[in-house]
């Protein structure tokens, strides 16, 4: 579904992403783990079509969106359910209306959008919130609503940045269930978090873990381009995964940077 190929991205303080290659196919859940400042948010913003990479390609449904004009990007973004690091909601709108907006942009009829939004809100958060204003919710609750907006209508690609930040155990399990629900409906789900226990929760649910360090994927292949995510999975099976019981963990050292073989 999405294939980032040799993506580099610069921000004010220096490189945020360096030659990142990563793929997520439909019906797959990939969780990107890394410490603060490792480039997770930049990676997800590039994947969601919110930021343009400085080099490399971002293939979504066989189209390289890195080469698209700014005016064409909205048509890409509306097919991506994106939860940014800060839950962006319209403050003077109701929760239901906020969630419905994602479907409005895709041109879904109002009645069915309302039904879909109710269903997703009930699954991710609390259906009793639907008529409350966004400003009346806590930041954590707003994050859940923003997650519901990212998942509503099961877009082909779901990109969620720190969805469980500041959440309790029950809420984290609920979020993990929601992401698995989206994956099971065929969505390609790309999730970033710095929270190891949440990573484990997703890995336990069948997610694939990718570690990001200083803007590079830890254990990324040294040379050449990996043609598709299936091959990437094949390569990881030859490596030595840390969580070999349930997860496919990419742990191939970057030979280009270290000059060594696989770890």
């Amino acid at each position: 579904m999405i294939w980032l190929e040799g993506v580099s991205y610069l921000r004010a303080g220096g490189p945020a992403l360096v030659d990142v290659t990563l793929g997520v196919s439909g019906g797959e859940l990939v969780v990107v783990h890394g410490p603060t400042g490792s480039g997770k948010s930049s990676l997800l913003a590039v994947a969601a079509g919110v930021r343009a990479p400085d080099s490399g390609a971002v293939w979504i449904a066989e189209h390289n969106i890195a080469g698209l004009q700014e005016s064409s990007l909205p048509y890409v973004r509306r097919n991506v359910g994106y939860l940014p690091p800060e839950p962006l909601l319209i403050p003077d709108e109701t929760i239901l209306e906020n969630i419905m907006l994602a479907l409005a942009v895709r041109g879904e009829p109002i009645d069915s959008a309302e039904a879909d939004a109710r269903e997703t809100l009930a699954m991710v958060a609390d259906s009793a919130w639907e008529n409350r204003l966004a400003t009346s919710l806590s930041t954590g609750q707003q994050r859940l609503v923003a997650l519901a907006r990212a998942l509503v209508g099961t877009p082909p690609l779901v990109v969620v940045d720190e969805p469980a930040s500041g959440m309790g155990a029950d809420e984290r399990e609920g979020i993990a269930r929601a992401l698995v629900w989206a994956r099971d409906r065929g969505c390609a789900v790309l999730c970033a978090t710095s929270d190891l226990s949440f990573v484990q929760l997703l890995v336990d649910a069948g997610g694939r873990r990718v570690d990001l360090e200083d803007g590079r994927i830890a254990g990324a292949p040294a040379i050449g381009l990996v043609p598709d995510p299936v091959c990437l999975s094949d390569m990881t099976s030859d490596a030595q995964p840390e969580n070999a019981d349930s997860a496919e963990v990419i742990r191939i050292s970057d030979r280009r940077s270290s000059g060594e073989g696989s770890s």
């Binding site: 913003a45 969601a48 079509g49 919110v50 930021r51 343009a52 700014e70 005016s71 990007l73 909205p74 048509y75 890409v76 973004r77 509306r78 097919n79 991506v80 994106y82 940014p84 962006l88 909601l89 319209i90 403050p91 003077d92 709108e93 209306e97 906020n98 907006l101 994602a102 409005a104 942009v105 895709r106 041109g107 009829p109 109002i110 907006r149």
Partner: protein, 300 residues
Amino acid sequence: MTFAWILRRARRQSVSARRALLAVAGLFLALGMVCGASVLGLRATRGWMSTVGQSVHVIAFLRDETEPDQASQLVDLLRRRPGVARVRLVEPAEALARLRDAARPLPTTGSWLDDLEPGYFPRSIEVALVASADLPQRAAELSRRLRGLAGVAGVDAMTEGVARLAAWVRFGQRLGWAVVLATGIAALSSLVGTVLRGRAARRRQAQVLAILGETAGNIRLPANIALAAAGLTGALAALLVLRLAWPALLTAVERTLSIVPTPAGFSLGFWESAVGLLAAAMIGWVLGYLSTPVRGLVDG
């Protein structure tokens, strides 16, 4: 976003930003009142000009020794002339009474008016001509003929006075236009200021829609519609107020200035109203364009 969604967004924005929209509609009302009143005022002054200009065109002052019979014959003679609408003989007593009426409101009027006697005033004949494009020329020709008649001491061709009045009216109109322009600029500036002040508040909404994949055009469209509707509402209210209040205002002004009431210019015509409403809607649409930021919302 489909049109149904855009209308829904416009309606919701109108409710959530009702105070700002009411302010915008109020400013459009003021702008509409200024523009409409200036058009109607222009029309009224033209009507007054026409009325004043066609009341009396020539005054012939008779010699003291002219007998009443002679004066009556002259009046009859003038009435039979083609192009003459009205002829009236003004006796000295009436002339004095007119002067006293005209001078009474002036603050400098003293008791000297009481000392005047009708005998100081000559008998005169006032002639009004039928209105036409060559009225000044016909008035001048009649004046020339009257000066040659026995019993006529002097002739005042009032068209010169009308020309002076016209110059003053033109000056007044220019002054009026300057006031209208200044008021219009002030109202427009207030409108733009009101809209731009709300720009920061609308940024979050635009940012959410941009991240969800809405195009810049559709992000702006609800505000375009809401502000065009506010403009239309304000302009309609201005039309209604002008229709109800203008006749009473005009009548009061005419009564105060002792101007013969003119039926013209009581309300704006269909096309004038249509152009005004269209202009208000278009200005509102442009303000909607300015009100919503669409650049730099996401790092595309």
